[in-house]
């Protein structure tokens, strides 16, 4: 059984919710990302999304754009991130999902990518610029490598699209909480509950919500509605502020622990 499925099954049995931190791999550097992954696991994170840096991250706000830029300046590549997952796996069974724009995957070759990712212990992929219509081939290769393909659903998605996304998404469905790019926001969209109800009507797969969720209070609010909560920019922002300085891993892990505690 895929680690993602097992994770959500166990959480459901325990009536728990998944905390899913996102960080950009290689920011500030790959060894630190490895340390962060291990520390997040210990701090109570249930799954981990690792961003693969890309030169033109058009779904991302400024925080993750800058993180991508820093990682690229460090020479981080898709292959390097897959190698990192292998290292993380040596000490942690946390489900790992790579979030990559499609072009680096195509450049590596979809088949080769799926094989390497599966071998390294990657459990799932999210490709924000690859809707189901264009994803069939990549998903077939990933399925063969026992890597889940997680699709995004959005506030603009029609009912027909929600059905299709729910049908093809594996592991969970990533619900984009707002119209816009990634990044912290003042408050959670007031219609989130109704939007999630709309999605629930077409699926019983786990739903994780991301985009714009940055504080413990927001995590608590969203955890009441969804099966998982994704926090990215707020964590990446902390990494940026601390840089490579001492105490980075402890500080960021403490933040993740506080978010997990907020889920109750």
């Amino acid at each position: 059984m895929n680690r993602i499925d097992r994770c959500f099954r166990d959480l459901r049995a325990a009536r728990g919710k998944a905390l899913i931190p996102f960080i950009t791999a290689g920011d500030p550097d790959l060894p630190t990302t490895r340390e962060l992954a291990w520390a997040f696991d210990e701090a109570g994170a249930d799954l981990l999304e690792l961003g693969v840096p890309f030169s033109d991250p058009l779904a991302d706000g400024t925080t993750i754009q800058r993180a991508s830029q820093r990682a690229l300046e460090n020479g981080v590549t898709l292959k390097g991130v897959i190698g990192l997952v292998e290292q993380i796996r040596a000490r942690s069974p946390i489900p790992i999902i790579l979030m990559s724009y499609v072009n680096p995957i195509l450049r590596m070759g979809a088949r080769e990518f799926a094989r390497c990712a599966g071998d390294a212990g990657v459990d799932g992929i999210i490709v924000p610029d690859l809707p189901p219509e264009e994803a069939q081939q990549l998903q077939a290769y990933c399925t063969a490598a026992q890597v889940h393909t997680i699709f995004l659903a959005a506030p603009t998605s029609t009912e027909g699209r929600l059905r299709r996304i729910a049908e093809v998404s594996q592991g969970y469905i990533y619900y984009v909480a707002l119209k816009g790019v990634t990044g912290a926001r003042e408050s959670v969209q007031s219609d989130l509950e109704a939007s999630l109800a709309r999605l629930r009507r077409v699926t019983d797969k786990p739903i994780a919500v991301g985009f714009g969720i940055s504080t413990a209070a927001q995590v608590s609010q969203v955890a009441a509605l969804a099966d998982g909560v994704i926090v990215g920019s707020a964590i990446v922002d902390r990494i940026e502020q601390r840089g490579r300085g001492p105490g980075l891993v402890e500080d960021v892990a403490a933040f993740v622990r506080a978010l997990k505690q907020a889920m109750g």
């Binding site: 890309f54 030169s55 033109d56 991250p57 058009l58 779904a59 706000g61 754009q65 690229l72 590549t77 898709l78 292959k79 724009y101 499609v102 072009n103 680096p104 995957i105 195509l106 450049r107 590596m108 924000p128 610029d129 690859l130 809707p131 219509e133 264009e134 699709f151 995004l152 659903a153 959005a154 506030p155 603009t156 998605s157 029609t158 699209r161 996304i165 984009v176 119209k179 816009g180 790019v181």
Partner: protein, 417 residues
């Protein structure tokens, strides 16, 4: 016209498609539906034609460039005078169409990206004409080299937003425009200026720009009683080229050549010649040829011409290249500057640096075509916007020469892959 591309999912062979975040998928479906309806609606077509003729000045002339013809020693060289369109370039053909469509869809705000500034000016113009709010994204490097167009856009009531990211050129402006669109998609239409991006943009932009080729085809038949031997157009994203080429696609005897920006030469790495040095990849919502590194990161480009300074290219051009229906070549910055001056001194027309690339390539291809041949070049825009930049490059001494044509960059005669 039996050309069956794009298919219903927006593909040209394996190219094109829709590679965008889910948030944009339903809006793109809505846009496609609205566009296809408008295309079938005589009232929409009548209104668009009215504005193209009475406001933008269509049809544009097809002009026999007599002294250029003499200089080349034949073939006859015809220029499709898109530089005479209102706002000074072909871009208005598309922005009038898209802004009318945006209004029809009930959108109150339009956004656009711009490189050379011509598309930004054309969008700001159409937005002013129909009373829509307008914001244009432009890289700061392009704002520097096309300062005049920045001022024009602001005069027209548009807000120009500087983009500091990446290479601070067209690519980065498109990223930022897409981020705006995903955030304000309810009331905003993204007026994409080139035949690229996610479906239906390559289809829609091509069709709005095909007025160029339809007119040119009728005009050359009237003037010469036959079709031209060669069509030449510069290719950045490729909207002026596809607009000229498309109505000739079924005319097998007409060669079509797109001219890319060779910058400082391919070997220098500072260029925007996607077909010479790119690989298939996804950029800005479409699968096409892209300049990228071995890890799939998009490369920065260089061209003296801001409008050609882009690492991707419209997917239909890639399909035309792969099937061999069109060939793609490149010329260097220096050659383009030579073409710029050649047209100014021989014909009294200062071309935009973009289409100066096509003029430059004409000097090479003319001898192949022969005295009885006909060469038709799309003069996609006028060069007023480039005069400051060119005077800077030429040391404000155009009479001094010192700009010898460099043939260092070999032409790829027929990419024919």
């Amino acid at each position: 016209m039996s050309w069956p591309f794009p298919d219903r999912a927006g593909h040209f062979g394996r190219y094109g498609g829709r590679y965008v975040p889910e948030t944009l998928m339903a809006p793109l479906e809505d846009l496609e539906r609205a566009y296809l309806e408008a295309q079938q609606d005589p009232a929409f077509q009548t209104e668009l034609t009215y504005y193209l003729e009475r406001y933008a000045g269509r049809p544009t002339p097809l002009y026999l460039a007599r002294r250029l013809t003499e200089k080349f020693g034949g073939p006859k060289v015809y220029l499709k005078r898109e530089d005479l369109c209102h706002t000074g370039a072909h871009k208005i053909n598309n922005t009038l169409g898209q802004v009318l469509l945006a209004r029809r869809m009930g959108k109150t705000r339009v956004i656009a990206e711009t490189g050379a500034g011509q598309h930004g000016v054309a969008t700001a113009t159409a937005a002013a004409l129909f009373g829509l709010e307008c914001r244009v994204y432009m890289g700061t490097e392009d704002m520097r080299r096309q300062a005049l167009n920045v001022f024009r856009m602001r005069l027209l009531g548009a807000e120009v937003t500087p983009v500091e990211a990446g290479s601070r050129t067209l690519k980065d402006a498109i990223n930022e425009a897409m981020r705006d669109w995903v955030t304000h998609v309810d009331h905003t239409h993204y007026v994409l200026g080139s035949a690229l991006g996610a479906h239906p943009f390559p289809l829609m932009v091509r069709n709005f720009q095909s007025v160029i080729g339809r007119e040119a085809r009728a005009q050359i038949l009237e003037a010469e009683g036959r079709l031209p031997d060669v069509l030449l157009a510069c290719v950045g994203g490729g909207s002026n080229a596809i607009g000229l080429f498309h109505p000739f696609i079924e005319d097998a005897g007409v060669r079509m050549i797109g001219v890319e920006a060779g910058g400082l030469g391919i070997e220098s790495g500072k260029h925007a010649a996607r077909f010479a040095a790119g690989e298939p990849g996804v950029l800005h919502g479409t699968l096409s040829y892209v300049l990228q590194d071995g890890d799939g990161q998009i490369q920065t480009t260089h061209s003296v011409s801001a409008g050609l300074d882009y690492p991707g290219v419209g997917p239909e051009h890639t399909y035309l290249m792969e099937t061999g229906r069109a060939a793609y070549v490149w010329v260097t910055d220096e050659e383009a500057l030579q073409g710029f001056r050649l047209l100014a001194t021989l014909e009294g027309i200062i071309p935009a640096l973009e289409c100066a690339h096509a003029i430059a390539y004409a000097t090479r291809v003319a001898s192949e075509i022969g005295r009885d041949g006909i060469l038709l070049i799309n003069l996609s825009g006028r060069g007023d916007k480039d005069v400051d930049l060119v005077s800077e490059i030429m040391g404000e001494a155009p009479q001094q020469g010192g700009m010898g044509v460099r043939h260092g960059g070999d032409v790829i005669p027929d990419v024919g892959r």
